[in-house]
Subunit: 133 residues, 2 copies
DNA sequence: GTAATAATGATAACGGTTATCATTTAAGGA
DNA sequence: TCCTTAAATGATAACCGTTATCATTATTAC
Protein backbone atom coordinates (compact mmCIF):
# COMPACT_ATOMS: atom_id res chain seq x y z
CA UNK A 1 0.00 0.00 0.00
CA UNK A 2 1.14 3.47 -0.77
CA UNK A 3 2.70 5.31 2.09
CA UNK A 4 3.09 8.98 2.93
CA UNK A 5 6.49 10.52 2.57
CA UNK A 6 7.69 14.02 3.24
CA UNK A 7 9.71 13.80 0.03
CA UNK A 8 6.73 13.17 -2.20
CA UNK A 9 4.86 16.06 -0.66
CA UNK A 10 7.81 18.37 -1.20
CA UNK A 11 8.15 17.29 -4.82
CA UNK A 12 4.50 17.88 -5.61
CA UNK A 13 4.55 21.26 -3.87
CA UNK A 14 7.75 22.30 -5.60
CA UNK A 15 6.26 21.43 -8.99
CA UNK A 16 3.01 23.28 -8.28
CA UNK A 17 4.95 26.33 -7.18
CA UNK A 18 6.51 26.66 -10.58
CA UNK A 19 4.72 28.23 -13.49
CA UNK A 20 7.03 26.69 -16.06
CA UNK A 21 7.69 23.07 -17.02
CA UNK A 22 10.73 21.98 -15.05
CA UNK A 23 12.86 18.90 -15.52
CA UNK A 24 13.43 16.39 -12.72
CA UNK A 25 16.87 17.93 -12.23
CA UNK A 26 15.44 21.44 -11.79
CA UNK A 27 13.00 20.18 -9.17
CA UNK A 28 15.81 18.33 -7.47
CA UNK A 29 17.71 21.60 -7.15
CA UNK A 30 14.67 23.41 -5.80
CA UNK A 31 13.98 20.75 -3.21
CA UNK A 32 17.61 20.38 -2.19
CA UNK A 33 17.42 23.88 -0.74
CA UNK A 34 14.77 22.68 1.70
CA UNK A 35 15.88 19.08 2.16
CA UNK A 36 19.56 18.79 1.21
CA UNK A 37 19.67 15.05 1.84
CA UNK A 38 17.13 14.12 -0.81
CA UNK A 39 18.42 11.86 -3.58
CA UNK A 40 17.87 12.38 -7.29
CA UNK A 41 16.43 8.87 -7.62
CA UNK A 42 13.70 9.80 -5.15
CA UNK A 43 12.73 12.73 -7.32
CA UNK A 44 12.49 10.54 -10.42
CA UNK A 45 10.64 7.81 -8.54
CA UNK A 46 8.06 10.17 -7.13
CA UNK A 47 7.53 12.05 -10.36
CA UNK A 48 6.85 8.70 -12.03
CA UNK A 49 4.42 7.73 -9.27
CA UNK A 50 2.63 11.08 -9.35
CA UNK A 51 2.33 10.78 -13.11
CA UNK A 52 0.88 7.28 -12.83
CA UNK A 53 -1.65 8.59 -10.32
CA UNK A 54 -2.65 11.35 -12.68
CA UNK A 55 -1.60 14.03 -10.21
CA UNK A 56 0.84 15.64 -12.62
CA UNK A 57 1.48 15.76 -16.36
CA UNK A 58 4.59 14.70 -18.18
CA UNK A 59 5.80 16.13 -21.46
CA UNK A 60 8.00 13.61 -23.16
CA UNK A 61 10.75 15.25 -25.08
CA UNK A 62 13.22 13.84 -27.52
CA UNK A 63 16.03 11.46 -26.70
CA UNK A 64 18.80 12.92 -24.62
CA UNK A 65 16.63 15.84 -23.59
CA UNK A 66 15.05 15.72 -20.14
CA UNK A 67 11.35 15.17 -19.79
CA UNK A 68 9.35 18.12 -18.50
CA UNK A 69 6.74 18.00 -15.78
CA UNK A 70 3.62 20.03 -15.26
CA UNK A 71 1.71 20.45 -12.02
CA UNK A 72 -1.37 21.74 -13.77
CA UNK A 73 -3.53 18.78 -14.79
CA UNK A 74 -6.27 20.83 -16.40
CA UNK A 75 -6.22 19.58 -20.01
CA UNK A 76 -4.24 21.84 -22.28
CA UNK A 77 -1.94 21.85 -25.27
CA UNK A 78 1.73 22.63 -25.33
CA UNK A 79 3.64 24.92 -27.58
CA UNK A 80 7.37 24.53 -27.98
CA UNK A 81 9.40 27.34 -29.47
CA UNK A 82 11.75 26.09 -32.17
CA UNK A 83 14.20 28.90 -31.39
CA UNK A 84 14.45 29.01 -27.60
CA UNK A 85 12.97 25.57 -26.80
CA UNK A 86 10.69 27.02 -24.15
CA UNK A 87 7.42 25.16 -23.60
CA UNK A 88 4.27 27.19 -23.07
CA UNK A 89 0.75 26.15 -22.12
CA UNK A 90 -2.22 26.78 -24.34
CA UNK A 91 -5.53 26.56 -22.52
CA UNK A 92 -8.63 26.12 -24.60
CA UNK A 93 -12.10 27.15 -23.58
CA UNK A 94 -14.75 24.46 -23.13
CA UNK A 95 -16.14 24.89 -26.61
CA UNK A 96 -12.75 24.63 -28.24
CA UNK A 97 -11.87 21.62 -26.14
CA UNK A 98 -15.05 19.84 -27.05
CA UNK A 99 -14.68 20.55 -30.74
CA UNK A 100 -11.10 19.37 -30.75
CA UNK A 101 -11.95 16.13 -28.95
CA UNK A 102 -14.72 15.45 -31.40
CA UNK A 103 -12.37 15.92 -34.33
CA UNK A 104 -9.71 13.68 -32.84
CA UNK A 105 -12.28 10.99 -32.17
CA UNK A 106 -13.29 11.17 -35.83
CA UNK A 107 -9.66 10.86 -36.86
CA UNK A 108 -9.22 7.73 -34.74
CA UNK A 109 -12.33 6.32 -36.39
CA UNK A 110 -10.56 6.46 -39.74
CA UNK A 111 -8.46 3.48 -38.63
CA UNK A 112 -11.24 1.92 -36.49
CA UNK A 113 -9.44 2.79 -33.28
CA UNK A 114 -10.85 3.86 -29.93
CA UNK A 115 -9.67 7.33 -29.01
CA UNK A 116 -8.62 7.86 -25.41
CA UNK A 117 -6.16 10.72 -25.14
CA UNK A 118 -3.88 12.79 -27.29
CA UNK A 119 -0.51 14.37 -27.06
CA UNK A 120 -0.43 17.57 -29.03
CA UNK A 121 2.62 19.76 -29.23
CA UNK A 122 2.48 22.76 -31.50
CA UNK A 123 5.79 24.11 -32.72
CA UNK A 124 6.82 27.43 -34.12
CA UNK A 125 8.12 30.72 -32.83
CA UNK A 126 7.04 32.15 -29.52
CA UNK A 127 6.05 35.77 -28.95
CA UNK A 128 9.34 36.65 -27.26
CA UNK A 129 11.50 35.28 -30.08
CA UNK A 130 9.39 36.97 -32.71
CA UNK A 131 9.58 40.32 -30.95
CA UNK A 132 13.34 40.05 -30.64
CA UNK A 133 13.80 40.41 -34.38
CA UNK B 1 28.96 20.09 -49.49
CA UNK B 2 26.85 16.99 -49.22
CA UNK B 3 28.21 13.96 -50.97
CA UNK B 4 26.58 10.81 -52.31
CA UNK B 5 27.01 7.59 -50.42
CA UNK B 6 25.80 4.10 -51.11
CA UNK B 7 24.95 3.78 -47.43
CA UNK B 8 22.55 6.70 -47.41
CA UNK B 9 20.77 5.38 -50.45
CA UNK B 10 20.41 1.95 -48.86
CA UNK B 11 19.04 3.44 -45.66
CA UNK B 12 16.43 5.53 -47.44
CA UNK B 13 15.38 2.59 -49.60
CA UNK B 14 15.21 0.24 -46.61
CA UNK B 15 12.98 2.70 -44.77
CA UNK B 16 10.68 3.22 -47.74
CA UNK B 17 10.34 -0.52 -48.19
CA UNK B 18 8.80 -0.88 -44.77
CA UNK B 19 5.19 -0.15 -44.09
CA UNK B 20 5.70 0.19 -40.34
CA UNK B 21 7.72 2.67 -38.29
CA UNK B 22 11.06 1.03 -37.63
CA UNK B 23 13.77 2.06 -35.19
CA UNK B 24 17.33 2.80 -36.29
CA UNK B 25 18.30 -0.62 -34.98
CA UNK B 26 15.68 -2.38 -37.07
CA UNK B 27 16.89 -0.62 -40.21
CA UNK B 28 20.46 -1.47 -39.30
CA UNK B 29 19.49 -5.15 -39.23
CA UNK B 30 17.69 -4.88 -42.56
CA UNK B 31 20.62 -3.18 -44.24
CA UNK B 32 23.23 -5.47 -42.69
CA UNK B 33 21.80 -8.27 -44.81
CA UNK B 34 22.76 -6.36 -47.93
CA UNK B 35 25.86 -4.56 -46.68
CA UNK B 36 27.23 -6.43 -43.66
CA UNK B 37 30.04 -3.94 -43.08
CA UNK B 38 27.79 -0.96 -42.38
CA UNK B 39 28.14 0.57 -38.93
CA UNK B 40 25.30 1.51 -36.61
CA UNK B 41 26.63 5.07 -36.35
CA UNK B 42 26.22 5.49 -40.09
CA UNK B 43 22.60 4.53 -39.81
CA UNK B 44 21.98 7.07 -37.05
CA UNK B 45 23.95 9.75 -38.87
CA UNK B 46 22.09 9.30 -42.12
CA UNK B 47 18.69 9.08 -40.52
CA UNK B 48 19.44 12.38 -38.80
CA UNK B 49 20.56 13.93 -42.09
CA UNK B 50 17.54 12.64 -44.00
CA UNK B 51 15.30 14.01 -41.29
CA UNK B 52 16.99 17.41 -41.44
CA UNK B 53 16.47 17.43 -45.21
CA UNK B 54 12.81 16.66 -44.77
CA UNK B 55 13.13 13.39 -46.68
CA UNK B 56 11.82 11.28 -43.84
CA UNK B 57 9.79 11.73 -40.66
CA UNK B 58 10.84 11.01 -37.14
CA UNK B 59 8.53 10.05 -34.32
CA UNK B 60 10.16 10.97 -31.07
CA UNK B 61 9.31 8.52 -28.36
CA UNK B 62 9.95 8.65 -24.67
CA UNK B 63 13.33 8.38 -23.00
CA UNK B 64 14.94 4.96 -23.21
CA UNK B 65 12.62 3.96 -26.03
CA UNK B 66 14.02 4.15 -29.55
CA UNK B 67 12.79 6.81 -31.92
CA UNK B 68 10.77 5.59 -34.88
CA UNK B 69 11.23 6.64 -38.48
CA UNK B 70 8.77 6.99 -41.29
CA UNK B 71 9.58 7.03 -44.99
CA UNK B 72 6.22 8.51 -45.88
CA UNK B 73 6.47 12.29 -45.67
CA UNK B 74 2.89 13.00 -46.68
CA UNK B 75 1.56 14.81 -43.63
CA UNK B 76 -0.36 12.53 -41.34
CA UNK B 77 -1.13 11.86 -37.72
CA UNK B 78 0.01 8.97 -35.62
CA UNK B 79 -1.98 6.72 -33.41
CA UNK B 80 -0.28 4.71 -30.70
CA UNK B 81 -2.11 1.79 -29.13
CA UNK B 82 -1.91 1.89 -25.35
CA UNK B 83 -2.13 -1.91 -25.20
CA UNK B 84 0.26 -3.18 -27.87
CA UNK B 85 2.30 0.03 -28.42
CA UNK B 86 1.98 -0.25 -32.20
CA UNK B 87 2.04 3.04 -34.09
CA UNK B 88 -0.36 3.46 -36.98
CA UNK B 89 -0.72 6.20 -39.54
CA UNK B 90 -3.85 8.27 -39.92
CA UNK B 91 -4.10 10.05 -43.24
CA UNK B 92 -6.51 12.94 -43.48
CA UNK B 93 -8.12 14.15 -46.64
CA UNK B 94 -7.31 17.65 -47.87
CA UNK B 95 -10.36 19.21 -46.28
CA UNK B 96 -9.64 17.65 -42.90
CA UNK B 97 -6.02 18.65 -43.11
CA UNK B 98 -6.86 22.21 -43.90
CA UNK B 99 -9.43 22.49 -41.13
CA UNK B 100 -7.04 21.03 -38.61
CA UNK B 101 -4.21 23.37 -39.59
CA UNK B 102 -6.52 26.33 -39.31
CA UNK B 103 -7.56 25.29 -35.84
CA UNK B 104 -4.00 24.75 -34.68
CA UNK B 105 -3.01 28.13 -36.01
CA UNK B 106 -5.83 29.67 -33.98
CA UNK B 107 -4.63 27.84 -30.90
CA UNK B 108 -1.11 29.20 -31.34
CA UNK B 109 -2.61 32.66 -31.67
CA UNK B 110 -3.96 32.34 -28.13
CA UNK B 111 -0.42 32.82 -26.85
CA UNK B 112 0.64 35.12 -29.73
CA UNK B 113 2.89 32.46 -31.21
CA UNK B 114 3.61 31.68 -34.85
CA UNK B 115 2.47 28.19 -35.73
CA UNK B 116 4.82 26.15 -37.90
CA UNK B 117 4.25 22.45 -37.34
CA UNK B 118 2.61 20.10 -34.92
CA UNK B 119 3.26 16.76 -33.39
CA UNK B 120 0.01 14.97 -32.79
CA UNK B 121 -0.16 11.51 -31.38
CA UNK B 122 -3.54 10.06 -30.63
CA UNK B 123 -3.67 7.30 -28.09
CA UNK B 124 -6.20 4.65 -27.34
CA UNK B 125 -6.94 1.10 -28.37
CA UNK B 126 -6.30 -0.12 -31.90
CA UNK B 127 -8.72 -2.21 -33.92
CA UNK B 128 -6.75 -5.44 -33.38
CA UNK B 129 -6.63 -5.09 -29.60
CA UNK B 130 -10.30 -4.22 -29.43
CA UNK B 131 -11.29 -7.22 -31.53
CA UNK B 132 -9.22 -9.55 -29.36
CA UNK B 133 -11.56 -9.11 -26.42
C1' DG C 1 44.95 10.79 -61.83
C1' DT C 2 45.23 13.79 -57.85
C1' DA C 3 43.99 16.68 -54.13
C1' DA C 4 40.63 18.04 -50.95
C1' DT C 5 37.46 16.78 -47.79
C1' DA C 6 32.92 14.48 -46.79
C1' DA C 7 31.43 10.02 -45.20
C1' DT C 8 32.37 5.82 -43.07
C1' DG C 9 33.08 2.12 -39.35
C1' DA C 10 34.65 0.86 -34.82
C1' DT C 11 34.15 2.03 -30.49
C1' DA C 12 34.44 5.15 -26.48
C1' DA C 13 31.78 8.48 -24.24
C1' DC C 14 27.57 10.78 -22.94
C1' DG C 15 23.38 11.82 -20.35
C1' DG C 16 18.97 11.03 -18.67
C1' DT C 17 16.83 7.56 -16.29
C1' DT C 18 16.27 3.17 -13.78
C1' DA C 19 17.85 -0.80 -10.93
C1' DT C 20 20.03 -2.40 -6.85
C1' DC C 21 20.45 -2.78 -2.07
C1' DA C 22 21.34 -1.62 2.59
C1' DT C 23 19.06 1.60 5.64
C1' DT C 24 15.31 4.43 7.28
C1' DT C 25 10.65 5.33 8.29
C1' DA C 26 5.43 5.24 8.13
C1' DA C 27 1.48 2.71 9.66
C1' DG C 28 -1.22 -0.76 11.91
C1' DG C 29 -1.60 -3.69 15.56
C1' DA C 30 -0.46 -5.69 20.48
C1' DT D 1 4.12 3.08 23.39
C1' DC D 2 6.61 -0.43 21.47
C1' DC D 3 6.99 -3.87 17.66
C1' DT D 4 6.64 -5.62 13.34
C1' DT D 5 6.35 -5.14 8.33
C1' DA D 6 7.23 -3.64 4.26
C1' DA D 7 7.18 0.73 1.57
C1' DA D 8 10.25 4.54 0.69
C1' DT D 9 14.63 6.42 0.72
C1' DG D 10 19.58 7.72 -0.66
C1' DA D 11 23.86 6.48 -2.82
C1' DT D 12 25.53 4.80 -6.67
C1' DA D 13 26.14 1.35 -10.31
C1' DA D 14 24.08 -0.03 -14.44
C1' DC D 15 21.40 0.68 -18.57
C1' DC D 16 20.57 1.97 -23.24
C1' DG D 17 19.76 4.78 -27.15
C1' DT D 18 22.40 7.98 -29.21
C1' DT D 19 26.42 10.96 -30.32
C1' DA D 20 31.42 12.14 -30.51
C1' DT D 21 35.97 10.86 -31.82
C1' DC D 22 39.30 9.59 -35.02
C1' DA D 23 41.83 7.00 -38.29
C1' DT D 24 40.55 5.25 -42.78
C1' DT D 25 37.94 5.18 -47.13
C1' DA D 26 35.64 7.06 -51.01
C1' DT D 27 33.39 10.85 -53.72
C1' DT D 28 33.81 14.90 -56.28
C1' DA D 29 36.05 18.78 -58.74
C1' DC D 30 39.92 19.85 -61.16
Amino acid sequence: MERYSKQRELILTALRNRKDHPTAEMLYKDISKIMPTIGIATVYRNLAALYENGQILKIETKQGESDRFDGNIKPHLHFQCLECNKIEDIFLNDKQNEELSKKLKDFANIIDAEFATSKIVLKGRCKDCRDKK
